[in-house]
Amino acid sequence: MDWGALHTILGGVNKHSTSIGKIWLTVLFIFRIMILVVAAEKVWGDEQDDFVCNTLQPGCKNVCYDHFFPISHIRLWALQLIFVSTPALLVAMHVAYRRHEKKRQFIKGDQKCEYKDIEEIRKQRFRIEGTLWWTYTSSIFFRLVFEAVFMYAFYFMYDGFRMPRLMKCNAWPCPNTVDCFVSRPTEKTVFTVFMIAVSSICILLNVAELCYLLTKFFLRRSKKAGNPKHHPNHENKEETKQNEMNELISDSCQNTVIGFSS
C-alpha cells in the first residue's frame, strides 16, 4: 500500500474529467508525488541525525529540533497530497453509483435501458452534467481550499519558504542560547520553492477548470432558456433528462424518440 495505490484509485477518475482535470492529475503525479518519493524524501531523510547543535548537553538537540520543526516539511507535503487527491474520490463514488443504478436497471430488464450488455455500462463515460456537475465542481472547490490551507500552514509555520542554515535555540535543557545547524538548507530551500511553485500551478489549473465549468453551465442554461419558447410541445423535466440520456447513448440505439412517446 503506497502512492501507487492512490494512482490506481485516481486513474479511474481520469476518464470522467475535463481536459484541464487530466492535466492537473498528470501534474499531481509527475511533479508532486513522484518528486516527493524519488527526491524529496531522500533530502529530508537524515534531517534529525544531521541536525547539529553546538552543545554537549543531552536532550538539547532533540528539544531544539522539535521546537523548530513541529511537523516536518516532508510530512506536511505528504498530507497535502493526500488531502488534495481525496475530493476526486467524490467523483469516483458518484460515477460508481450511477453505473450501479444503470446495471440494476439492465438486470431488471427495464425497457428504458438502452445498453446491449454490462460491458457497455462499465466502459461508458459519463458527461459532466446534472448532479455529476455539482459533485465535480464541489470536488474542485474542496481541492482549492485544501491547497490554500496547506500553503498557508507552511508559510505560517516556517516564516516563509526559506530554510535557514543556522537557528538559535534556548529551550530548556539547553544551558544558554545555542547555535543549531540544519542539514542541507539550500537543497531543502530549492525543493520547498519547487513544491510551492507546483502547488500554485495546481491552484491555477483548478481555478481555470472551475471557470470553465461555470461558463459551460451558464451557456447551457441560456441555451435551454432560449429553447422552450420555440418548441410547440412544452417538455417537462423528466423528458429533458431522458433526452440528455439519449444523447449519451451510442448510435446502435434503435428508439430515439422515447422522450416524446407520451
Partner: protein, 219 residues
Amino acid sequence: MSWGFLRDLLSGVNKYSTGIGRIWVAVVFIFRLLVYVAVAENIWKYEHDEFECNVKQPGCENVCFDHFFPVSHIRLWALQLIMVSTPSLLVVFHVAYRENREKHHDQKLYKSPGEIDGGLLCTYLISLVLKTGFEIVFLFLFYKLYNGFKVPRLVKCDVRPCPSTVDCYISKPTEKMIFLYFLVATSGLCIVLNVSELSYLIFKYSIKCYLKRYVKKHQ
C-alpha cells in the same frame, strides 16, 4: 506479505458492502493505511536511536525507553489497522461458503449475490459490531498506556540501572502528537460510520420484516 494483502482483502469486501461500507473502506485506505505507510512510519523509524537520556550509565537509556514505550505507538497503530479490517473476512468467508453450497447442489439456493439477506445480514452485522468494538478497545488502550494522547518532550526515569532520576528526551514529540490526534480523529470517524451503517441496516430490515408481516396478516 505486506499491507498490499490488506488492501486486496478490503477491495474484495467492497463488493458486498452497503454505500456507507464503501465510504468506510475508502477512509481506511486513504486516511489510515496510506497515511501510515507513506507518512507515519518514517516519524517513528528511529525513535529508539533518537531517544536520549542525560546520563552515561550503559543500559539506562534502553531500560527507560522500554519503561515508557512498552508497545510503540506505531506498532499499536498497525495492530489496530489489522484487527479493524479482519472482521470483514467473516463476510468474505460466508459469501464463499454460499457460493460453494450453490456449486455443490448445482442450483441457485440464494437470492442475487449483491443482496445482503438472512444469514449474510447477520454475519455483516456481527462484523460491524466487531469492527466498532476493536476500534474502541484500541483507542482505550492508547489512552491508558500513554496517559492520554500526549507525547511529552521530557520524561523523568529512575528505573535501575539509572543511578538517580534522569531526564530523558523523546524525539519529535510534537509531530508524533499531531499524528496521534490524526489517528484518533480517523478512528472516531470510522466508529461513526460503522454505527450509522449498523443503525441503517437494522432499521431497513426491521421495516421490511414489519411490512411483510403486515401484508401477511391482511391476506
